[in-house]
Homo-oligomer: 197 residues x 2
């Protein structure tokens, strides 16, 4: 709430910015080029943590080179897992349709990995939310792809857009995690790092 | 999607209007004075359906008197249930604080009853979502009450506001139901009433 120090958000995602604003957490966006590759043999919950760590470290290095070491850096990465497949951002319309068809009528997991760096202290965690889609028609999937913006989203959809409003039957877990950041856990982690004096 | 006929929304709730807009369902708002009393011996899922039915019937009567019978009317009512208590809208600051204190650190149910009237055909259902709050401090609860608008909300909170973003650990069920309307079920009910020809 009021005790939260401004932090550096290592993400350009408009959803993550919006979530920090809704949570009234002051922040500044600093983005650095980070390696987003990951070891496919890692357990699914560790993959987005590894990618988030790479984003956070790239920004920490950049800030250090500007004499701004010591600032709290928040990075996150979200993946969609269905069965044993990991869905990233779709490359084109055909892949978006393929991804959404695989989600239709089924339950998948959305996993966001979070890394918070404060100097040499790293806090990290992953949050998982299960999402169950109603069976959707090809017409509905194509309507979404052609009228909304699936291409910058893991799994090719956003829960807060039309397809999430009309197409999702139920979730289990944190809704905001599906939007891209488990904000309430971030608030708790920041409070633990900076206990009120 | 595109086949949905415009309907009459028997509600002035800005959340319900926003949800219909997000779902791309065309609508017009018509509100009539309805009796919002209910039989406290009803099972919790039937209470908001009874209130929604009263709202829908009041609007149907009003439209009929204007020669506009036959339009599809959608009404909804949302209640919050914790243990054996039903929480309505708080009357004042003290009651809002009492309600939020009773939700803090616990799981409650949000139940929305929906009634759709199309001539003499009534479709009704209730949707229940479980919501688990983190333990929140008095300071956090007072911050929310004093900086947001708890007074027009059952249970004294909105999931899409600050307290929902930083305070809710997890939900089980439909997020939009907690906002006031299980939109995806409404879309399905409308499609069943008006199958594509």
């Amino acid at each position: 709430m009021l005790q939260i120090q401004p932090l550096v958000l290592a993400s350009q995602s408009p959803r993550r910015k919006q979530l920090l604003e809704w949570a009234e957490i002051p922040f500044e966006v600093v983005v650095s080029h980070a390696d987003e590759s990951f070891d496919p043999l890692l357990p699914p919950t560790e993959i987005p943590v590894q990618i988030a760590r790479q984003k956070a470290l790239a920004v920490q290095q950049q800030l250090a080179s500007q004499g701004r070491a010591g600032q709290t850096i928040l990075a996150a990465d979200t993946i969609v897992v269905i069965g044993d497949k990991i869905l990233n951002k779709p490359a084109d319309r055909a892949e978006a349709l393929e991804m959404l068809s695989s989600l239709s009528g089924k339950t998948h997991q959305v996993i966001t990995g979070v890394v918070i760096l404060q100097g040499t202290t790293e806090t990290h965690f992953a949050a998982t939310t299960s999402v169950r889609f109603h069976p959707l028609t090809q017409e509905q999937l194509c309507f979404y792809i052609d009228h909304y913006a699936p291409y910058d989203k893991a799994g090719a959809y956003a829960i807060q857009e039309w397809i999430g409003v009309v197409g999702i039957a139920a979730i289990e877990g944190d809704f905001y995690n599906v939007m891209g950041l488990p904000v309430s856990l971030v608030v708790q982690a920041l409070a633990a790092l900076n206990p009120p004096s």
